[in-house]
C-alpha cells in the first residue's frame, strides 16, 4: 500500500541549522493497516507525514503508494490518493465557505473540476446523512460557514472530508491535540468508526500513549529521524505505557522523555 524506501529529509542542509528530520527511513504499510506513531518533539513524525503527502519533497529515497512512485509528484496531485487531517483545526477546512461547500470540494478530490455546478440536490442529501452520523447536530447547518464551528466540530467535518472519497491513505497528524479532552475523545471515536467502516489504511500521529496503544493494529516509535520500534498485532496488544516509556528511555540514551511524553 504505502512504501517508504530509504527516505531522508534534511532541513537547512549545509548550514549551521542543519537538521536531519528523517534519517534513511524505510517503512511498508499493508492494506488496511492502522498505524499509530509516537515519539518526542522533533522525532520526525510530522515530517514523515508531510513527505508522504508531498508538502515536503524527500531529499533521498522513494515513496510508493499502491506501487506507484510519487516521490516527485506535487502535493495537489498526490492528494488524489491521500486524505489528511491536521493538528490545527483551522487548516483542514475553508473557514469562509459553507459546510456543504467544503464537503463538495472534498467530494471532488481526485476528479476533474469542470464547469458543472459544484453542489447538486443529491449531494446535499448525501452530506446531510453523513453529518447526521457524526451526531454533532451539523446536519441542519449545511449553509453555515465553517468559521462558526468549534475546533472539535471542524476536525470531525475534516475527518468526513478526508475519508469520503475512499483515500488509499488517511494521514492524521495529531488531529486531537488542539482539542479539550472530552472533545478529543469524541473526535477519536469518530476517527475509529470512519477508519473501520471504510477499512482505510491509516497513519495517526499522537502524543497520547494510551491512544497509541488502544487504537490501531500497529505502533511505530520514532526518535531522531529514525523508526526505533515497530510492533504489530498481538505483540502490540500486550504492550503497556510502561513498556513504551522504557523503550523510549533506552532509545534516548537515558536522557528521559520530555514532559509532554511523561504527562500523557
Amino acid at each position: 500500500m504505502l512504501e517508504l524506501k530509504n527516505v531522508t529529509k534534511i532541513f537547512n542542509a549545509g548550514t549551521i541549522n542543519e537538521k536531519i528530520a528523517l534519517d534513511d527511513i524505510s517503512l511498508t504499510l499493508n492494506d488496511g493497516d492502522f498505524v499509530t506513531v509516537i515519539g518526542g518533539n522533533g522525532a520526525g513524525k510530522s515530517t514523515m507525514l508531510n513527505v508522504v503527502a508531498g508538502t515536503y519533497t524527500a531529499d533521498a529515497g522513494h515513496i510508493l503508494i499502491d506501487g506507484k512512485d510519487v516521490t516527485k509528484m506535487s502535493e495537489y496531485k498526490r492528494a488524489k490518493y491521500i486524505g489528511r487531517v491536521f493538528q490545527d483545526p483551522m487548516i483542514g477546512t475553508a473557514a469562509d465557505m459553507w459546510i456543504e461547500e467544503n464537503m463538495a470540494l472534498a467530494q471532488q478530490r481526485g476528479t476533474r473540476r469542470g464547469l458543472s455546478w459544484s453542489i447538486t440536490k443529491k449531494d446535499r442529501e448525501k452530506f446531510r446523512e453523513m453529518l447526521a452520523r457524526l451526531d454533532l447536530g451539523l446536519e441542519d447547518r449545511l449553509s453555515t460557514k465553517v468559521a462558526l464551528l468549534s475546533g472539535g466540530q471542524r476536525q470531525a467535518v475534516t475527518l468526513l472530508m478526508a475519508s469520503m472519497m475512499q483515500p488509499e491513505l488517511l494521514l492524521l497528524d495529531e488531529h486531537t491535540a488542539a482539542l479539550d479532552p472530552k472533545t478529543a475523545a469524541k473526535v477519536l471515536d469518530i476517527t475509529e468508526n470512519i477508519v473501520s467502516e471504510n477499512k482505510l489504511t491509516t497513519i495517526m500521529i499522537t502524543h497520547n500513549m494510551k491512544d497509541a496503544l488502544r487504537l490501531g493494529n500497529r505502533l511505530i516509535m520514532m526518535h531522531a529521524g529514525k523508526i526505533i520500534f515497530d510492533v504489530a498485532g498481538e505483540e502490540k496488544q500486550k504492550l503497556t505505557v510502561a513498556d513504551l516509556l522504557k523503550k523510549f528511555e533506552l532509545a534516548s540514551d537515558g536522557t528521559f522523555a520530555n514532559d509532554r511524553m511523561l504527562l500523557t
Binding site: A79, R84, G92, A94, M97, L105, A106, S116, S118, S150
Partner: protein, 299 residues
C-alpha cells in the same frame, strides 16, 4: 445645487464603469486574497487597445473583446511572475504594471489617443449619459450573473477555496497555482474591459488614466462591503455591493468637487479614506475585542 444634480448621471455612469473595474479587483483582493497592482496598468491597456483599434477602423465590439484579451494577457504575466517564479504577489503586480507603462505607450505610439464620439461609433459616451447608464447597467447585470455562475461551478469553487485556505485546497487536490493564475487573468480581463468602456465614455485614452486605479477599485470594494455586509449577503449581493460602491465613490467625488475641494488633493483624499477603512477591522480587533466571546468559541 442644480449643478450638482446635473452632474449626477455622469457620476453614476463613471461609478458603474469603475464598479465593473472594482469587480475585477474583488476577484483578486477578496476571492483570491491577493493584492494585485497590475490593474493600474491593465486598465490603461484596455483603454489603449480599444481606442487604437477603433481609431484604425475596428468595430466597437471586437475592439472591446481585444481589450479584454489584452488585459487577460497582462494578468497571465503577473500570474507567472507570482506562481512560477515565486515573486510575492504585490511585487509581481508592480513589475507587470511597470512593464505595461511601456507596452501602453507602444500600443498608442504616444501618451494619449482621442476617441471622440462624434467621429467614432462608440457604445457609450458622456454626450449621451442616460443611454450610457442603461448600457452600463446591462453590462453589470450580465457580468455579475456570469461570475455568480462561474464561482458556483466545481472549478470556480476551487478558486474560492484557493483564496480561502491554500493548504486545505492543495490537500483536496486543487492546483492552487493554476487557480491563482486564472483568477489574475480573469480579474485583469475585466479591468481592461472597464478601461475600454472608460475610453469610450470619456472620449480618450491617456497613459496617466490608470494611476491609482487600484485605490479606487479597493475603495469601491470596501464601500460595497460596508453597504451589504449586514445582510448576510450571498455572492450576487456582494458583487452588486461592489458596483454600488463604485457609484457611491463617484457621487461622493462629485460632491467633494462641488464643495470646492482643490482637485489636486483628490488622490490624497481617496488614499486616506481607503487607508482608514482598511485599518478599521484591525483596530477594532485590537481595541474592541471581547475575550469572553473567544473563550466561548474555543469550547
Amino acid at each position: 445645487m442644480t449643478a450638482l444634480l446635473n452632474a449626477l448621471p455622469g457620476a453614476v455612469a463613471q461609478g458603474l464603469i469603475w464598479g465593473i473595474m472594482a469587480i475585477g479587483v474583488y476577484i483578486t483582493y477578496k476571492v483570491l486574497d491577493l493584492a494585485d497592482l497590475t490593474v493600474d496598468g491593465s486598465m490603461v491597456t484596455g483603454m489603449a487597445v480599444c481606442a487604437m483599434l477603433m481609431a484604425n477602423g475596428w468595430n466597437v465590439w471586437p475592439a472591446m473583446l481585444m481589450a479584454f484579451l489584452a488585459g487577460m494577457a497582462a494578468g497571465l504575466v503577473t500570474g507567472i511572475f507570482h506562481t512560477a517564479m515565486g515573486i510575492p504577489a504585490i511585487l509581481a503586480g508592480i513589475l507587470t504594471q511597470l512593464m505595461l507603462w511601456s507596452v501602453n505607450l507602444k500600443i498608442m505610439g504616444k501618451a494619449n489617443q482621442a476617441l471622440p464620439a462624434r467621429t467614432f461609433d462608440v457604445l457609450i459616451t458622456q454626450l449621451r449619459k442616460y443611454e450610457a447608464l442603461l448600457i452600463l447597467v446591462a453590462f453589470c447585470v450580465v457580468l455579475i450573473a456570469v461570475l455568480y455562475w462561474f464561482f458556483g461551478t466545481k472549478f470556480g469553487s476551487g478558486i474560492r477555496a484557493t483564496g480561502c485556505n491554500e493548504k486545505m485546497a492543495r490537500a483536496q487536490g486543487i492546483d492552487t497555482n493554476f487557480n491563482k493564475c486564472v483568477g489574475l487573468i480573469l480579474s485583469n480581463g475585466i479591468v481592461a474591459f472597464s478601461g475600454a468602456l472608460l475610453a469610450q465614455y470619456s472620449g480618450k485614452a491617456d497613459i496617466n488614466d490608470g494611476r491609482g486605479a487600484i485605490v479606487i477599485g479597493l475603495a469601491a470594494v470596501i464601500i460595497g462591503d460596508a453597504l451589504v455586509s449586514r445582510f448576510r449577503p450571498n455572492f450576487i449581493i456582494r458583487l452588486l455591493g461592489v458596483v454600488l460602491g463604485g457609484v457611491v465613490y463617484y457621487i461622493v467625488y462629485q460632491i467633494v468637487i462641488f464643495l470646492g475641494l482643490d482637485t489636486d488633493l483628490l488622490k490624497m483624499l481617496s488614499a486616506v479614506v481607503v487607508a482608514i477603512f482598511l485599518a478599521v477591522p484591525y483596530l477594532k480587533k485590537k481595541y474592541f475585542s471581547h475575550p469572553m466571546k473567544k473563550n466561548k468559541e474555543a469550547a
